[in-house]
């Protein structure tokens, strides 16, 4: 047994957690901004896939990784705007529109990918980002190589969490976002543009989901495959609830999920071969369900979540 444990907790384990957590953190923060403003974005799964595709394509065609990231972010923002157009500006059902955005974005991703790359026997790949060790900090034993010898997108995710908390809790715009998600009428009568604020929050959320997609195709896999996202978007929606719509807690939830996921990967690779690997694959999702069941009991969603705002309605 101790051999197994040793194998599981070898040197790269911490680094793996961080790498798995990064796209989840971007996606979770993105969904959180959207929901804090009162808009559920079920388009997340498709937005991540489409952004992963456009990011990969832009890099593969131009050779520039950062151009790819930019393309992914813009794609995410654009799809966020599409979702906002239907749900915020037109006040349509957030469930239906979100699922529509996911189906449309996924379909579009397949279609464009085939159109651009055709059917190839060896899927095209790109030269990924390289790790960027931070001087001094990366020399700290154990923690250093795992946390401070990472990809720049990982550092961006680390910075995104306190930044999101600052924006949400300390800036007037963040207060407006929270207010339109709690009581849009109150925001409206205080002179805050409800539609505009919600639109902005959903677009920002989409951009963050785009970053999540970019990380998957440009760092984690260096290639685009159709199963690339494989439910990470849905998981992010659960993590927002688990994280009680708070940036720090949401990031913590992403880390916890990543820990379980990294653990099951190691367990698959370890000597527990007599157990089918699918059993390990289930672990993170079982964890999500249990965590949701336990945590969501006293989690209170933004009061105006799912509720469109129209002024002359009583």
């Amino acid at each position: 047994m101790s051999v197994v444990l040793e194998q599981i907790f070898q040197v790269g384990f911490l680094a793996a957690i961080i790498r798995i957590a990064t796209p989840l953190a971007f996606a979770t923060l993105g969904e959180m901004f959207s929901e804090r403003a009162g808009v559920l974005n079920l388009g997340i799964e498709g937005i991540m896939l489409l952004s992963a595709m456009t990011g990969f394509t832009a890099t593969s065609l131009s050779g520039s990784l950062w151009l790819g990231v930019l393309a992914a972010v813009l794609t995410g923002a654009l799809m966020g705007a599409v979702h906002a157009l239907f749900t915020v500006a037109l006040g349509l059902s957030q469930h239906v529109c979100g699922i529509g955005v996911t189906l449309f974005s996924s379909g579009l991703a397949y279609f464009l990918y085939r159109l651009i790359f055709g059917q190839q026997s060896v899927p095209p790949s790109i030269k990924s980002f390289e790790t960027l060790p931070i001087p001094v900090l990366s020399d700290i034993p154990v923690l250093g190589p795992a946390v401070f010898n990472q990809f720049s997108l990982v550092y961006m995710a680390m910075a995104a969490v306190p930044l999101a908390a600052f924006v949400l809790y300390r800036t007037p715009w963040g207060l407006s976002v929270r207010m339109v998600g709690e009581n849009p009428r109150a925001a409206d009568s205080a002179g805050v543009g409800v539609i505009a604020t919600r639109f902005q929050a959903v677009v920002l959320g989409g951009a963050l989901m785009g970053l999540a997609g970019a990380f998957l195709s440009m760092v984690q896999f260096n290639a685009f495959t159709f199963g690339l996202v494989s439910g990470r978007g849905w998981v992010a929606i659960a993590l927002v609830v688990f994280g009680r719509w708070d940036p720090w807690r949401s990031a913590g939830a992403a880390l916890l999920f990543a820990f379980v996921d990294a653990l099951q990967l190691r367990m698959q690779a370890s000597g527990l071969g007599h157990i089918p690997y699918e059993a390990f694959l289930m672990l993170p999702f079982i964890f999500t369900i249990v965590a949701m069941a336990v945590m969501s009991r006293n989690a209170i969603a933004p009061s105006a979540l799912l509720k469109p705002f129209r002024r002359e309605e009583r």
């Binding site: 300390r170 800036t171 007037p172 963040g174 207060l175 407006s176 929270r178 207010m179 709690e182 009581n183 009428r185 109150a186 925001a187 409206d188 009568s189 205080a190 002179g191 805050v192 543009g193 209170i300 009061s303 002024r311 002359e312 009583r314």
Partner: protein, 503 residues
């Protein structure tokens, strides 16, 4: 007389076929408190929403200090110095007082300006006696404090005209005094105030001038409210004279509801402590007390929503054993809850469905487990006619009805089945005189027909007018019961502070 602060000229506003405002003229001078009077549905709220930029008028213009302005949003109104305290507060309960105050206020170097907000909050508090704890979440504030926050919000944004839409409807009598002194202090500093209410004694005590609306039109202007009688004003509001209902002598029969040593614990508000009372057939018992002294628990126990820890309750001579709404209803209890919107009707369902909800399982409305839509509709249509409930029809969403019409619908629903006991909380809260009279008459009707009625209320004048006996509650206990012949407002008021009375 100084130049008007704001002036509305020829304002008209329609909602589909409903004319909410028609050619309304109105002006407010600095330092003036203008009363805006009218029955429910007269168009007061609509007119103020036009002024505050929430609704666009179909015709008419608005002048601020003599200059015509276009007000397309609340932001425009705030910029023009107009602030509004809505009937239903516009606050986010889970955000703090300070955050609710600072919403929409530009920050300082990109951040929320907390320090500046705290300083202004303290200053406004000192000026008008409107103090608030900035760190508390709004959900922890009392209704009176939430209203104070709404007023402070408006002042914070530099309002020179403050609109208050039925501010006293939600306040206890003591809180009303505090509000009035704050409003007088603001007017003394040159603010203009528009005060909406249909409590005529309040309007007479507070305002300098009144405008009366009926069916969306101005039907009267009162230049000296203090020296105008309430009945004169009532006549302007309703278009006809209002006579108080005549109450015949009571001939009570046997007790139809008894509570014996009832105590409760599991309740979010004040629990009941050893409460005993009885109501006889053909008698109206008033329950007086400052709200929050156990009235809600009492209403819930009688309605079978809350089971007491100890004690016994009987309805029409039968002991209530399980305390479920179904059981007490089957024994002959009708109830009209305090909050019409949340525990009264289902606001998103058609009115007809809401009107049969408590009896949906009875043979009248369902057969073999299936609803009888025709019977439900017919019942609702008959009641709408009998009670003159103003609505487009039985399939209207219940939430779209005005307060008075909702109350009529609830009365119709309960009275249609001849309850032996009727429990009513705050029967006329938010209703205008006409609608309130209607409710009073129905109660006296039921009394004459041998129903025992329990009325839980705060308005002593009202209770004295139609109750046979009045019981006073304080901190979950019963202080005492007076025959209405012996009861005076002063005596009841004293008992409401917990001072022992005599039964």
């Amino acid at each position: 007389m100084p130049a008007p602060l704001i002036e509305m000229r020829g304002i008209s506003k329609r909602f589909g076929a409903v004319v909410a405002n028609e050619a309304v003229d109105l002006s407010v001078a600095p330092g003036e408190i203008l009363g805006l009077l009218g029955e429910n549905g007269a168009g007061k709220t609509t007119l103020m929403n036009v002024l505050f930029g929430a609704y666009a008028p179909d015709a008419g213009e608005i002048l601020v200090q003599g200059r015509p302005v276009t007000i397309n949003s609340s932001a425009d109104a705030l910029a023009a110095g107009i602030g509004m305290v809505h009937q239903h507060f516009h606050l986010a309960p889970r955000l703090s007082v300070l955050e609710n105050l600072l919403i929409g206020i530009p920050g300082k170097s990109g951040r929320i300006d907390r320090a500046g907000g705290l300083a202004r909050l303290a200053e406004i508090g000192r000026q008008h006696g409107l103090t608030l704890d900035p760190g508390l979440p709004v959900s922890a504030l009392s209704i009176g404090e939430q209203q104070r926050l709404e007023i402070v919000k408006a002042l914070f944004r530099g309002a020179r005209l403050l609109i208050l839409d039925e501010p006293t409807a939600v306040l206890a009598p003591t809180e009303v005094d505090g509000l009035f002194s704050a409003l007088r202090s603001m007017a003394a500093q040159g603010l203009g105030i528009i005060f909406i209410s249909h409590k005529l004694n309040e309007v007479r005590a507070l305002t300098h001038r009144c405008v009366v609306l009926r069916h969306g039109r101005v039907t009267g202007r009162v230049d000296a409210p203090a020296s105008t009688t309430s009945s004169e004003m009532a006549q302007l509001m309703c278009g006809h004279e209002i006579v108080p209902p005549a109450r015949g002598p009571s001939t009570p029969g046997a007790a139809v509801l008894t509570l014996d040593g009832i105590s409760t614990s599991r309740h979010s508000g004040m629990a009941l402590r050893d409460v005993s009372l009885f109501v006889r057939a053909g008698e109206i018992l008033g329950i007086a007390g400052v709200s929050g002294n156990g009235q809600r628990a009492l209403a819930e126990v009688i309605s079978g929503v809350l089971a007491p820890d100890v004690g016994r309750m009987t309805i029409a001579g039968k002991v209530v054993s399980r305390f479920s709404p179904c059981e007490v209803q089957a024994l002959g209890l009708g109830r009209i809850p305090e909050d019409r919107m949340t525990t009264g009707l289902v606001t998103n369902l058609p009115l007809a469905d809401s009107m049969v909800l408590p009896r949906i399982g009875t043979a009248a409305f369902s057969r073999n487990g299936l609803l009888r839509p025709d019977a439900i509709r017919a019942f609702a249509e008959a009641q709408i006619k009998a009670y003159d409930i103003r609505c487009p029809g039985p399939m209207t969403r219940a939430g779209a009805l005005s307060g008075g019409n909702l109350q009529k619908a609830l009365l119709a629903r309960e009275l249609a089945f001849d309850p032996k006991v009727l429990v009513v909380s705050q029967p006329t809260r938010g209703l205008d005189i006409g609608a309130a009279r209607f409710v009073h008459e129905k109660f006296l009707d039921m009394r004459a027909r041998g129903c025992g009625i329990v009325v839980i209320g705060e308005d002593l004048e009202e209770l004295l007018m139609f109750c046979d006996r009045i019981t006073v509650m304080y901190e979950g206990r019963i202080v005492g019961t007076l025959d209405s012949a012996d009861a005076t407002i002063a005596r009841l008021g004293l008992m409401m502070t917990g001072a022992e009375g005599h039964s």
